[in-house]
Symmetry: C2
Subunit: 206 residues, 2 copies
DNA sequence: CTAGCACCCTAACAATCGTTAGGCTACTGT
DNA sequence: ACAGTAGCCTAACGATTGTTAGGGTGCTAG
């Protein structure tokens, strides 16, 4: 019932500071004592809020996972053209990166840790479902002839994911989400989608 | 004088295996004993080839740095139009990523470690010089009106670098360098560079 | 043959890791 | 007033870390 707002929610402070440190230095390289220092407390006191270092990492990642899963579920159920769905997914991913930047950096940086933690099975399951949505959407956009044929044969999902995740390291004031959407969409879309005169719908690359 | 080719160059094997492990799990998370296991030797035996873990990391990164520095120096001295120089730099970066993928992943993943290691001052100095070349080239391309005005106000260098470095995680068979160049250049270049028709003045491949 | 070095080993070091045990303080509900 | 507990502390645990000491084997030069 309590969880005072004005006072101090130390648990949230621990989550925030540890997320920042994990993202900057890596999970293994960040010791519990360094996290405690950043929060103005003692290493052992962290265990009053979290049972283990793994649980602390998991709490950070689960927050972000819940957010992005909600966004993707809405996009999955919306009636959208393939390219519009693709743009919506890119924007959702970048929105999640904006709100949970540290969590995203931890997720894509310490992938070995994420894959091994027993507390993250649900996060991993969600990631599989998200990948399937990406693949289905990209396949639909390719089938509609809206993707440059150059990218028909490669794993465009992984390319887009890596490109988007990499921007989590850029602070918000350096590059806007619109800039990134602009680069990615203009980079992969077929030159003149439907009206133009001179574009054959597809061409297997040589 | 020796360094037998057919026999076994254990030092190179240590470099290769440790680079792979550092890139996958992170420097701090990879212990000397794990590296030794991967090389079929004992942890203490690694110190016959490298004086410390830091020196091992540095040896990996210096190799890659020497390669990319050579490429950039040649590009700096070549008489190129801004956009062509930009494309050459992107290709050089991606070439380095292809040849020294693990080193590149270590460099951009464990940045805190790179910034703190006393054995990497030369690598850091080179990085500063490379960044200056990037900025000068991008500024020239903007001044020539070849960059979409959307990107005139942001740090396009950092955006491009993050986007390129992120592709180091994609194995070569998933995405080719040409694909990435295509996405990036088409994403940032101004729509119709100079003339009115629809043919860019030059483009090597097709 | 012998000295010397390259190469690798076992054993152990001090330091640091995540974590636990147990106690102190301050607030809360009854 | 008093028990309970949330929140934090000090102190220490066993395990693991990077690293060192010192010895053994086998090749090679003289």
């Amino acid at each position: 019932m309590s969880q005072g707002t004005g006072r101090a929610n130390k648990r949230d402070a621990v989550l925030r500071e540890s997320a920042r440190l994990f993202a900057e230095r890596g999970v293994e390289a960040t010791t519990m004592r360094v996290i405690a220092d950043a929060c103005g407390m003692q290493a052992a006191s962290l265990y009053h809020h979290f049972a283990s270092k793994d649980e602390l990492v998991a709490a950070i990642l689960v927050r972000s996972d819940a957010h992005i899963t909600g966004l993707y579920d809405a996009i999955r159920d919306a009636p959208l053209e393939p390219v519009d769905r693709l743009e919506a997914m890119i924007r959702a991913t970048l929105d999640n990166l904006g709100h949970y930047r540290d969590a995203a950096r931890i997720y894509y940086r310490d992938r070995a840790h994420v894959a091994a933690s027993p507390l993250l099975t649900q996060v991993r399951d969600h990631a599989v479902a998200h990948d399937e949505l990406w693949d289905r959407t990209i396949d639909a956009a390719i089938a509609a002839g809206r993707i440059s044929p150059r990218f028909a044969a490669i794993s465009l999902r992984r390319l887009l994911q890596e490109l988007m995740w990499s921007t989590a390291r850029l602070r918000g004031d350096a590059v806007s989400a619109d800039d990134i959407v602009h680069v990615l969409l203009r980079g992969i879309l077929a030159p003149e989608p439907e009206l133009g005169r001179d574009e054959p719908p597809r061409r297997p690359e040589s």
